[in-house]
């Protein structure tokens, strides 16, 4: 028996308030497991209440003749080692077991909710003291504390369960204090306070509604634990011998296990089924909560559905000055979709076609959610779970990436096509050194030895402008700045001299001064290695700086495409023009830096 508390997997508080308003019970009743569990528990409760009516015998009357009587006749389930009727004892025992469990849960809830509210809402010293006390409670197995308490306080089940309730209270405390702490900083609570509501009203209105549902789930889980530990104490023979309990019956039956093995079954079923029913009930409640909030949570940025419009793509002619170059990547009619929980598919990229020539920088520009990042992931075949290429071809050096096996695609990634992410810090594995994360893929991709790979990695770190490569090599990601991390990621991306580099807003998350340096670095590396680049961005400043060609994306489609120079000179699509206007309005009074500024101001919006 463990006393692990089912706290960790509760749904986030923010999603719960909404759910708490609609009836949890009604949703629970649509879940067959939940209904069964609830019905069983009601049945047990009913049996407990009606025990005096239902029981055929007095639970404590021992008949010497009936010792270990088999089921049937006067004793439907037989009689125990002292000749007492098992069915009657079982019914009466359910009273004590349920009342004991209820005692523990109520004590835990009262203590935990009150201290949690005070700690979370007012914070300060009380909060740290309470946290320390809850870690104190965790320092001993509950049963050891209960044994010690039993030594001095005697065998009463209610005293034991009160002590156990105190030990369980940190579970409620944690749920309530974090919910109250979250609410404390909400603007609507400040507003309520300004408008003259007292703390009591605010707590009642805004905090208790939030914690009600998780507290009920927690209560079900803890009730099961309380039943189990109480039965365990009685099974050890430490309970009150004058009162029938499930654990005490189990003790008696176990003592006679060789003579009447079946007798173990009844109290075991009572304990086991009640514990399982409580656990399943808690689970069903959680499911009911999560299902109502699930679809909202599942939607991620950039996966907005696409209205199907079949406006033609506005294409600018190639300027005659540019020499024709060999095609490196040709995306033709690409559509990408994500499976929805209801079985449908949300299309996020629709019929996208674009071409990147060898050594050319192709800008893919659009607002957040326009599908440009999804297009980039589709080319890498690294769409998030549930996403897939619905149709279209991705020709890359003679093969269709959309049709390659996963193994073949793994061989293309890193060696031929590389990727620079948007947010540098979250794209390095926090558990490994920078050096490890550079060397491992280099060794896999190029099949070279550790020493050679390390030498190469150090040279790369120097090349991307890291002042002390050896130190950064040995550092962990949290020890370096965002700008350094982005340089590391760029070093990793170019480490195997790819033909195509896909850069997903590579400067959006960086400081303004660092942005310019990173763009310079990218330009230099591109020229040096002759890579084709697909540059995903929402920043026309970056496009103007780096790109040979531009495709403008909106709502999953490309609306305008052509040489950067032509598009800047003559934007034809109204959407392209509105993108320009948005930037120019912002830029005019402040000069060239403002171009970069717009990027930082809108950062954090994934596309």
């Amino acid at each position: 028996m463990t006393t692990q508390l089912p706290v960790g997997d509760l749904a986030p508080v923010a999603t719960l308030e909404r759910a708490a308003r609609t009836s949890l019970l009604r949703r629970l009743l649509r879940n067959p497991t939940g209904v069964t569990a609830l019905a069983f528990l009601l049945l047990v409760a009913l049996a407990a209440v009606l025990a005096p009516v239902l029981a055929p015998h007095d639970p404590n009357t021992a008949a010497a003749l009936d010792v270990l009587a088999p089921p049937g006749g006067a004793h439907p389930l037989g009689a125990d080692g002292s000749g007492r009727d098992i069915l009657s004892r079982l019914l009466y025992a359910s009273r004590l077991s349920l009342a004991g469990a209820l005692t523990a849960v109520v004590v835990a809830a009262l203590l935990g909710v009150v201290s949690g509210l005070v700690a979370g809402y007012y914070g300060g010293r009380f909060e740290s003291a309470s946290s320390w006390v809850s870690s104190l409670f965790m320092a001993l197995p509950a049963i050891v504390v209960l044994l010690a308490a039993r030594t001095v306080l005697g065998p009463s089940i209610f005293i034991a369960m009160t002590v156990f309730g105190v030990l369980l209270s940190p579970a409620f405390y944690r749920v309530v204090s974090s919910a109250a702490g979250a609410v404390r900083h909400e603007l609507y609570v400040d507003a309520a306070r300004v408008s003259g509501l007292g703390d009591g009203r605010i707590i009642g209105r805004h905090v208790l509604t939030v914690v009600r549902a998780p507290a009920i789930i927690l209560g079900a889980g803890l009730g099961g634990i309380a039943i189990a530990i109480q039965a365990g104490l009685d099974f050890l023979g430490l309970g009150d011998p004058t009162k029938p309990t499930w654990g005490g019956m189990l003790n008696d039956a176990f003592a006679n296990i060789y003579r009447a093995p079946l007798q173990v079954l009844w109290p075991s079923l009572a304990i086991g089924l009640t514990c399982i029913a409580l656990a399943l009930l808690g689970n069903a409640l959680r499911d009911a909560l999560e299902r109502s909030t699930g679809p909202r949570r599942r939607r991620r940025g950039g996966q907005a559905s696409v209205e199907v419009r079949s406006a033609p793509v506005m294409t600018h002619d190639e300027s005659s000055a540019a020499a024709p170059r060999e095609d490196l990547l040709t995306v033709d009619g690409l559509s990408v979709g994500y499976d929805r929980p209801d079985g449908g598919v949300t299309t996020v990229v629709e019929d996208v076609s674009l071409t990147i020539s060898r050594g050319e920088v192709h800008g893919l520009i659009g607002e957040s959610g326009s599908g440009k990042t999804q297009t980039a992931f589709a080319i890498l075949r690294l769409l998030a779970p549930g996403g897939r290429i619905l149709s279209g071809a991705i020709e890359f050096e003679g093969s269709d990436l959309a049709a390659l096996s996963e193994k073949e695609m793994t061989a293309v990634r890193g060696r031929r096509i590389a990727y620079i992410p948007q947010e540098p810090m979250s794209n390095l594995d926090p558990s490994f050194t920078i050096g490890h994360q550079l060397v491992e893929p280099i060794r896999v991709a190029l099949g070279i030895g550790r020493a050679e790979a390390k030498e190469k990695a150090l040279a790369l770190l120097g090349r991307v402008g890291i002042p002390d490569p050896a130190r950064t090599y040995a550092a962990y990601p949290h020890q370096i700045s965002g700008g350094m991390a982005q340089r590391v990621l760029i070093a990793g991306a170019v480490s195997c001299e790819p033909d195509l580099l896909i850069a997903d807003e590579p400067t959006t998350a960086l400081d303004v001064t660092v942005q310019a340096e990173v763009l310079d670095l990218l330009r230099d590396l591109q020229g040096e290695l002759g890579m084709g680049v697909l540059l995903v961005t929402h920043n026309f400043g970056v496009v103007a700086d780096l790109c040979d060609r531009v495709s403008v994306m909106r709502s999953g489609r490309i609306v305008e495409t052509g040489p950067a120079r032509e598009i800047f000179a003559d934007p034809r699509h109204e959407y392209t023009r509105s993108l320009f206007d948005a930037i120019l309005e912002d830029a005019a009074p402040r000069g060239p830096l403002a171009l970069a500024r717009t990027a930082t101001e809108t950062q954090g919006a994934p596309s």
């Binding site: 028996m1 692990q4 001993l140 504390v145 044994l147 793994t410 491992e440 962990y476």
Partner: protein
Amino acid sequence: MLRFVVRRLLAGVVLIAVIVALTFFLLYARGGDIARRLLGQQATEETVRARASELGLDRPILTQFGDWVSSALQGDLGTSWLSAQPVGEAIASRLAVTLSLVIGATMVTAVVAVVLGVLAARRGGWVDRLVQFVSVLGVAIPGFLVAIGLVLLLAIEFGWFAPTGYTRFSDSPGGWISSITLPVIALSIGSIAGVAQQVRGSILDAQRQDWVRTLRSRGLSESRVVYEHVLRNAAGPALSVLAVQFVGLLGGAVIVEQVFAIPGLGQVAVGATSRGDIPLVMGLVVITAVIVILLNLVVDLLQGWLNPKVRQT
């Protein structure tokens, strides 16, 4: 790193001091009543008083506490009131038995739970649903019911194992393994279920991280990313849950030992509790607290090794 260890050790010492004080005052607060309970209702007032003074219970409680602490610091946890055996000795002889059960169950838990958790997280679909459902049941069913079921089925019905009793490792290694197999299984079911859920959850969390995509973009295969990087990142939370389970197993062993008639700490604890042998109960609480706090220290160090961020703070 050294400062980290010293700070944790100090915090542990403070925690033990508080537990010792609380337990002592809880156990000894009732002074003369304790002697009465030892001797029964028939004993005369005089014999009770004599016994109380013999056990030193008539002194002020702070004096008693001071005495206990000063001898405990010299390694003397007192003497059992009933068997006259030194408490330290009575516990030490049983500690190895209980620890072998708990450590065995922890190792079984770690291996099986990781396999199940990885399977559920990687395969998804019905495998995932099955593992999750079984986990809910496994957490819910009390370990001693599993123990009784195993005794009934595998020991009494099929006769594959000795139903009860304990063979020392030094007497017969094979017999030792056979005698702890069923208890270890009974103890492990619940903790496997709990840890498997956590392993599954942390793998799914880790898999959603941006760096997984980036590592794959560098040409690492998905399985390599999962088994080298994702598992490493999922190990920290899983280890924390395993530590919580260890404490739970220590408690569970008290009851499961009783089912299998294994002479471990559980037997000592139940005997001492029902007979009111307060020095022994006191010693058990202190030893358990020390074990748990040492375990948490080891887990903290392992966390530091697993997670470079922890190391610095």
